[in-house]
């Protein structure tokens, strides 16, 4: 039940309270096989088609560590400037849940593979260093599907179905230390952190880190305190699964907690669920006391001791750090800081880069990705890269414009067509007949018709009022359904009326 009391605005909330955040991000690794068995990690298979005795936790089965997953974990750790453990172990995290086949999760506890690192992120033009506490390996759980209830929730469901295809998929959990930043930028820093982390993960090639597919999941811990006080009680908001939601969820939680505290209430330590549609969080499990997971070292696995040679070798495979890459690209593209920030905030750096690589100008690439494509993606609630147009498509549209085959207006129609699934830019041009009319014969007839239809306007032009030309061009565009080359039409009008 949601109690609808008016929340203070964000500015009001932070006028009194200082927010402290902690981010926990789970990244599903893109390994071919699962963390502890040889089953495929392919997304979207028939339920329970990618399972075996190990990931079903059948009696007698035993785990074997996926070396590629460990390698990915080490590379993530290195890219986050972490120390890599010389010796570490897996541990069992014990709790009962129907989608967890063994009723314990094989994870890492006090001996993570990577620890004590940092990541620099930029928000509102300032750079903040986010301290990383640890990055550890664990396995994913299965998925429950509740049937018969109104909303797919367990409440009111008649029965539940379990799909274990996801069970055992390797996860890396990256946990920050408490994040203390100027209060007004806190939500923006949270978003910037997840954005930067996502870009880093993608640059490493260890995961596609698609938030909408659950490949990168974010839990946001937020607490408030009065300046100088010890840390307040925190809540952990789950399901924050888009970049925009990170900022909104943190903002909401700051406002909600401020409302509770300023009315004399206390914050309950609990998990909260983020609802994208309402922009609110609701209470989940109450953590009355620290959950007792009864961790102990996983006896079915031997300790890992990554050799220094191995770690150093992996250090050599790290990609250019995203911040350095961005600085280089900004210089190459000739963007201002503001322009570059827009591209970064839209999560379009890689897309613009790919479009430029495919032959487009940087400005042109930016215009399409942040304009028409972003608009459609937003409408549909999908990521830019899933809007249905490729970097090569955008580059082709730009090429057609440069060749004079399309004007801006037609190009927009082409992009719309591609986004609507009508095919490649050339296919859309052909199917919709979107060809710029610029041959003098066809255009000349339209010009003559327009002059004949509006003799008074023509008279003004003859009298030297060039501002009236636009009215004629508008009429020409109407009769040619927008396909006229406006520049040539203007030339023809002036030829006829000024000679």
């Amino acid at each position: 039940m949601t109690v609808t009391t008016a929340l203070p605005s964000f500015d009001e909330a932070i006028a009194t309270y200082e927010p402290v955040m902690g981010m926990e991000v789970h990244v599903e690794l893109g390994t071919a096989t699962k963390m502890f068995c040889g089953c495929s990690t392919e997304f979207g298979g028939e339920p329970n088609s990618q399972v075996c005795p190990v990931c079903l936790g059948l009696p007698g089965s035993l785990p074997v560590v996926n070396r590629t997953a460990v390698e990915s974990a080490i590379r993530i750790g290195l890219a986050l400037n972490c120390s890599i453990a010389e010796w570490c172990r897996f541990a069992r995290k014990n709790y009962f849940y129907p989608d967890m086949p063994k009723n314990f999760q094989t994870s890492q506890y006090d001996e993570p593979i990577a620890f004590d690192g940092w990541l620099d992120v930029t928000a509102d033009g300032e750079t903040y260093r986010i301290e990383i506490e640890r990055a550890h390996m664990e396995e994913d759980t299965g998925k429950s599907l509740h049937v018969g209830g109104a909303t797919g929730r367990i409440h009111g469901a008649s029965h539940s179905l379990l799909d274990y295809n996801r069970s055992g998929i390797p996860l890396i959990e990256i946990v920050t230390k408490p994040i203390y930043v100027p209060r007004e930028v806190a939500p923006a820093v949270a978003k910037a952190y997840v954005t930067e982390l996502r870009e880093l993960i993608r640059a490493l090639g260890v995961s596609e880190a698609r938030m909408e597919l659950g490949q990168l999941r974010c839990d946001a811990n937020v607490s408030l305190r009065l300046p100088g006080d010890p840390l307040g009680t925190r809540t952990e908001t789950k399901n924050v699964n888009s970049l925009r939601s990170v900022e909104r969820a943190v903002t909401h939680e700051i406002r909600r907690q401020a409302a509770v505290l300023s009315s004399g209430g206390t914050i309950i330590q609990e998990t909260r669920h983020w609802h994208e549609d309402t922009g609110e969080t609701t209470a989940g499990r109450v953590k009355e006391e620290a959950e007792d997971y009864r961790y102990f070292p996983e006896p079915d696995l031997v300790p890992m001791a990554p050799s220094r040679e191995w770690v150093d070798g992996l250090r050599g495979t790290l990609p250019e750090p995203p911040a350095a890459r961005r600085a280089r690209l900004q210089a190459d593209w000739g963007f201002t800081d503001l322009e570059m920030r827009d591209v970064v905030n839209a999560g379009a750096v890689a897309l613009v880069a790919a479009t430029v690589d495919a032959g487009a100008s940087a400005g042109g690439a930016k215009k399409w990705w942040l304009g028409e494509v972003a608009r459609v993606a937003n409408e549909r609630g999908v990521a830019l890269e899933d809007a249905g147009i490729s970097a090569a498509d955008v580059a082709r549209v730009e090429e057609l414009i440069a060749a004079g085959s399309l004007n801006d207006k037609l190009a927009r129609q082409v992009v719309e067509g591609v986004l609507a699934g009508e095919g490649t830019p050339d296919e859309v041009v052909a199917a919709r007949g979107l060809v710029l009319v610029n041959d003098d014969a066809a255009l000349g007839a339209a010009v003559d018709d327009a002059i004949a239809a509006q003799p008074d306007v023509a008279e003004k032009i003859r009298g030297g009022n060039l501002g009236a030309v636009g009215a004629l061009i508008g009429a020409i565009m109407k009769t040619t359904k927008g396909q006229a080359d406006a520049k040539r039409a203007r030339e023809l009008i002036l030829e006829r009326l000024q000679s």
Partner: protein
């Protein structure tokens, strides 16, 4: 037919290989013997929970066909075996002695099962055990007790009482056991058979339903040392499916058994563990153990007394580590995917069904250990219990290291007493736990150890076991010593100890 069931595994395999008898005939003889003496939970030995006569005869026929086709047969091809019902089998149910898994048919074979099949060994069926291999008497089985063939009113040891009783009742010449705190060795001792707990990691645990993962070790059970050695070579060796499996060559246990049988132990240094004996040990057990030590001297070994001061903490440490792992390993039995499901009538939540199922499905001992372990791992208690027990474990391993710097093997009685009457200790878990006093240190340290027949106690005429402990990956030393003792006693007794066991004819209708 009787001679087929009394023959050694090595002899049976040779006879099958040479065409003197078919594997089908051998198998049928054992099935007949089982029909005659195994009986039911109410009467008889009751070693088997599940018998697969058709499967066994088919496996035997396959061996005969292979031979007919001129193919080479393994060293134990055509020999029947009794498999402890804690090892999964894709063609037979696996219950682990629990109601929770009644009727569960695993979709896969354990690595051990696969290796047995590949060797042409004929799996007769699955043997009884304490529920989830927790107990020292097989009385904790949800499917009724197994009786000791030496005296049907007494326990056959546990948890692997079914496998040991099957050997002692001549129902099978070979068996597989698993040993977490003595579950191979203590049943071997009280039934007058041979039981070996290999080095931890020596035999794959893949497909062994876990009791306590860091302690569980499967091993061979037989009536003779050479038979156990042959079976050891079939099941041992690295398995990529078990991360704790040791990637090293298997010690040459067969050669050691053959060398030992020559009866010369000169040059061997034997340590008698001072802390494993004295008060609490039955007089007849001590007497037979002292005889065995004297025999080792006579065979040329140099015998010294060795102190292992931390062994006395073994039992308490074990009863913290084992329940901790058990509490986690047994969490998966939640009625969601397989096995028993109680109360799923549409009115209850998944959590309630889990709770009801576990409440009704687990026996008292399983519940006791789940609760102990849950407590020991709880935050605030972890350091005092689980953490402290792990330190004891390290100290015991160091005791072994120090001892093995002085001697090649250590010896002790296997158990403080001979087989006790069924029902005597069921209400006294602590008395029950004392059975494993001598065997537990090797599980905690992971080294190899075994129990060999050492004669009968004077006061009750029941078998006593000689416990031999060897360093990690020195399993061959067990066989060397065991075979030497066996050969000397055979000369003294005019055969194996089991030949002195009472006949069991005509138990079952």
């Amino acid at each position: 037919m009787n001679s087929l069931t009394r023959a050694r595994a090595s002899e049976l395999a040779a006879a099958v290989r040479d065409g003197e008898v078919s594997a089908v005939e051998v198998t049928q003889a054992h099935l007949d013997r089982i029909a005659a003496v195994d009986g039911t939970a109410e009467a008889g030995v009751h070693a088997f929970l599940h018998l697969d006569a058709d499967g066994a005869l088919a496996a035997a026929a396959a061996v005969d066909e292979k031979r007919a086709a001129g193919e080479e047969l393994g060293l134990l091809a055509g020999v029947p075996l009794a498999l402890k019902d804690v090892i999964v089998t894709s063609d037979m149910p696996t219950t682990v002695g629990s109601k929770l898994l009644e009727g569960w048919q695993p979709p896969y074979d354990a690595t051990i099962t696969r290796r047995l099949r590949e060797a042409g060994i004929v799996i007769l069926g699955k043997t009884n055990l304490d529920e989830f291999a927790m107990g020292s008497s097989t009385e904790n089985s949800a499917y009724g007790v197994t009786r000791n063939p030496w005296d049907l009113t007494r326990i056959p040891g546990g948890s692997g009482g079914g496998s040991a009783a099957a050997l002692a009742a001549f129902e099978a010449p070979l068996a597989i056991g698993t040993d977490t705190g003595g579950s191979i060795r203590q049943p071997a001792a009280v039934t007058g058979t041979v039981g070996v707990k290999p080095t931890y990691g020596g035999v794959s645990r893949y497909g062994l339903v876990a009791c306590a993962s860091s302690l569980d070790q499967a091993g061979p059970c037989a009536r003779t040392v050479l038979d156990a050695a042959l079976l050891h070579t079939v099941i041992a060796g690295h398995d990529p499916l078990d991360s704790t499996s040791i990637d090293q060559p298997v010690p040459d246990v067969v050669a050691a058994a053959r060398r030992g049988a020559e009866g010369d132990l000169s040059g061997l240094r034997v340590g008698v563990v001072k802390e494993l004996g004295g008060e609490g040990y039955q007089a007849g057990v001590e007497a037979r153990f002292n005889d065995a030590v004297a025999l080792l001297s006579k065979l040329g070994a140099e015998v010294v007394e060795v102190s292992c001061p931390h062994f006395k903490y073994g039992l308490p440490a074990y009863y913290l580590i084992l329940p901790s792992e058990v509490s986690s390993n047994l969490a998966r039995f939640d009625a969601m995917r397989y096995g028993l499901r109680v109360g799923d009538d549409g009115s209850r939540s998944a959590e309630e069904v889990m709770s009801l199922t576990r409440g009704q499905g687990f026996g008292a001992e399983a519940k006791r250990r789940i609760m102990l372990g849950t407590y020991a791992l709880s935050s605030g208690y972890y350091d005092a219990y689980y953490g402290q027990a792990q330190k004891v474990r390290t100290l015991i391993a160091r005791d072994f290291e120090a001892a093995f710097a002085q001697v090649d093997v250590l010896v002790s009685p296997t158990t403080p007493t001979t087989a006790f009457p069924i029902g005597e200790k069921v209400d006294d878990p602590l008395a029950m736990y004392m059975n494993d006093l001598c065997t537990i240190p090797s599980n905690l340290a992971g080294n190899a150890s075994a129990s060999f027949p050492a004669g009968l106690a004077d006061e009750d005429g029941l078998p006593v076991g000689l416990h031999v402990m060897a360093p990690v990956m020195a399993d061959d030393r067990l066989y060397l010593v065991g075979a030497a003792v066996e050969a000397a006693y055979a000369a003294q007794w005019g055969g194996t100890l089991l030949e002195q066991a009472p006949a069991l004819e005509g138990i079952a209708p």
